[in-house]
Amino acid sequence: MNAQLSPQLQDNLVEIQDLKKWFPVQKSFLDQLLAGRKDFVRAVDGVSFNIRRGEAFGLAGESGSGKTTIGRLAIGLETPTEGKVLFDGIDLGRQNERELRHLRRRMQVIFQDPMASLNPRMTLGDSVVQGLKIHYPEAAEKHRDTLLDIFERVGLSPARYFINKYPHQISGGQRQRVVIARALITRPDLVLADEPIAMADVSVRALLLELMVQLKQEFNLTYLFITHDLATAKYICDRIGILYLGRMAEIGDLKEVYSHPLHPYTQALMAAVPVPDPHKRRTQTMPAGEIPNPINPPSGCRFHPRCPIAQAICSQEEPELRELRPGHQAACHFAEQFL
């Protein structure tokens, strides 16, 4: 391990620097010959941000904004096209397979669909203990106790009863708890939660959110919380980044961003979230068109073709993130008018 950087000195657990991930577009041989150049889907196109130790950082955006790809890059499941990811000061791009595997016990994932991420033919106990067997084979005699303990901690009690069940024998909310237990059993520092409760029903969701907040405290976790649902993010995230078409549109403390959205895209997104109050129906019209093709993103500011306040400069110059209020950055040439 890189011993020169002691973890205590690092304020940021994850540092993402000018990250890019371009996926090549599959084409037929003839098209390749005729087109003469390769096309890329620019899923992530120059994104930088830090995740502080112990915080819950939210990444929000519509489908195609690149949020899931950033999450995968952040824990080394994908290799960046450009830029780098530092985890606790360690550059993931410079680690070999063995070192990376060693680091992975410190980063775990909770995926969206618990039914799809649990093996239907493995008992819940076997599924959850897998991580320990891989990362800590030397401590095999302790595995069972750790397993029982983690089941109790996520609210699957009595643990002895649940470890012998199969995924189809328990409810959806309980399955989501199993997936959380599996992520936490190796005692990670960072948990990537990719839409972790999007599949759960409203009446079950509140309990799962509370559980995630409580476990974060208990296990000293740092969350990278990926969501399309701004309302859910409010209950778990300290800071939030709003992505649009592979770029960060706005980033800041969640309370700041929600109460004073400075980017026209964030404003549209906030207005679009339906409000559970029939007296407060939305009256604003929504931006024209839909999220454009990431193969040929618009020039300048990517939001300019749909932006209500766009001017000539917006199609020519790409705005940089600027700090407009303390702890609150937005990438818009004309954000000052919203201050």
């Binding site: 519509e62 489908s63 409810s171 959806g172 909310g173 309980q174 029903d201 409203v202 009446s203 079950v204 969701r205 509140a206 309990l207 959110l209 509370e210 399309h228 649902d229 701004l230 309302a231 859910t232 409010k234 209950y235 309370k255 929600y258 109460s259 549209a268 997104l269 906030m270 207005a271 679009a272 979230v273 339906p274 409000v275 559970p276 109050d277 029939p278 007296h279 129906r281 939305r282 019209t285 929504m286 931006p287 839909e290 999220i291």
Partner: protein, 338 residues
């Protein structure tokens, strides 16, 4: 709205049963309500509450092992359960149509948008001339904001929002009076969803169609519906005007549901209500009121007898013992008095 016109749809004691290995499962259990002409009725509930089954039953699309086991569905006064095949085909499409959640699986991948729309007209309206058909399609796509050039596109070439608009177009092209939108906006991003909601409202205003919006998203119902029906475990638990339901929900389930909806409002960072338990397995539903094991104010009677649907205030119906007289209610007050 003129109260003397009969409702478009009258559902009476409707039950839908699925045969499963564990025995009969009552997905919809003795549900009765009306859908008024020209209204947007929001039907909300969680997964497995029977809301989609109810939507399908309205088009008689329940497939074995499921069946409509009891009740009546009156459309314009006629019981659709008595329709023969020919009459049923005419009813589906021309009088009532459905918009499904996932347009990618509901559209034919090898047909263009235009072919979809033309086929819908031809199947239900064999005598239609090609010129009048073209005019109808033209007017429709203009209203829905589908570009002329998109008529030649195949489903995979369209964005999710555009596909959903084509689905709405298919629902409207035959001038159906009732549109059942089953989670029609669920797979869409919020901005696209908001636009589609605007569109559904506009369609109602312009064409006067009646919309049954089936959704799990309570906030969406607040955004678009005139009246709200709440289902839980196969039962209709509450029904009323949207403002009534959101301002003064009566059923403990509705109350809990509304209190557990997250919002983006930063100042009211109030705790979400954490409803205990999970929705029941309908093969073995709880006795009495199906909500009683999760209910914070359950009384002894709730586990023994099923409450009726009671009109607690004008137009506000609730399926709960709290709002009706029963022997134990008196007992309870007596005890308090003593």
């Amino acid at each position: 709205m003129n109260d003397t016109t009969p409702p478009l749809v009258q559902i009476r004691d409707l039950s839908v049963t699925y045969k499963t290995r564990l025995g009969d499962t009552s997905a919809v259990d003795k549900v009765s309500f009306d859908i008024r002409r020209g209204e947007i009725l929001g039907l909300v509930g969680e997964s497995g509450c029977g809301k989609s089954t109810l939507g399908k039953a309205l088009l008689r699309m329940i497939m074995p092992p499921g069946r409509i086991s009891a009740g009546q569905i009156l459309f314009n006064g006629e019981d659709i359960l008595t329709f023969d095949d020919k009459r049923l085909r005419d009813y589906r499409g021309r009088q009532a149509s459905m918009i499904f959640q996932d347009p990618m699986t509901s559209l034919n991948p090898v047909q263009t948008v235009e072919q979809h729309l033309t086929e819908a007209i031809q199947v239900h309206d064999a005598g239609a001339e090609s010129q009048s058909m073209a005019r109808r399609i033209q007017a429709l796509i203009e209203r829905l904001g589908i570009m002329q050039s998109r008529l030649a596109s195949y489903p995979h070439q369209l964005s999710g929002g555009m596909r959903q608009r084509v689905m709405i177009g298919l629902g409207l092209v035959l001038n159906a009076g009732l549109i059942i939108a089953d989670e029609a906006t669920t797979s869409l991003d919020v901005i696209v969803e908001a636009k589609l909601v605007d569109q559904l409202r506009e369609i109602r205003d312009v064409y006067g169609v009646t919309i049954l919006a089936i959704t799990h998203n309570i906030a969406l119902v607040a955004e678009m519906a005139d009246r709200v029906a709440v289902m839980y475990a196969g039962n209709l638990v509450e029904l009323g005007e949207v403002n009534r339901i959101f301002d003064r929900p009566l059923h403990p389930y509705t109350q809990g549901l509304l209190a557990s909806v997250p919002t983006t409002e930063i100042n009211e960072r109030k705790e979400l209500y954490k409803m205990p338990g999970e929705p029941p397995n309908l093969a073995r539903p709880p006795s009495g009121c199906r909500f009683h094991p999760r209910c914070p104010v359950a009384m002894p009677i709730c586990s023994r007898y099923r409450p009726g649907l009671n009109e607690a205030a004008p137009g506000h119906w609730v399926h709960c013992w709290l709002y009706q007289d029963h022997p134990e209610k008196e007992e309870k007050t007596l005890k308090v008095a003593a």
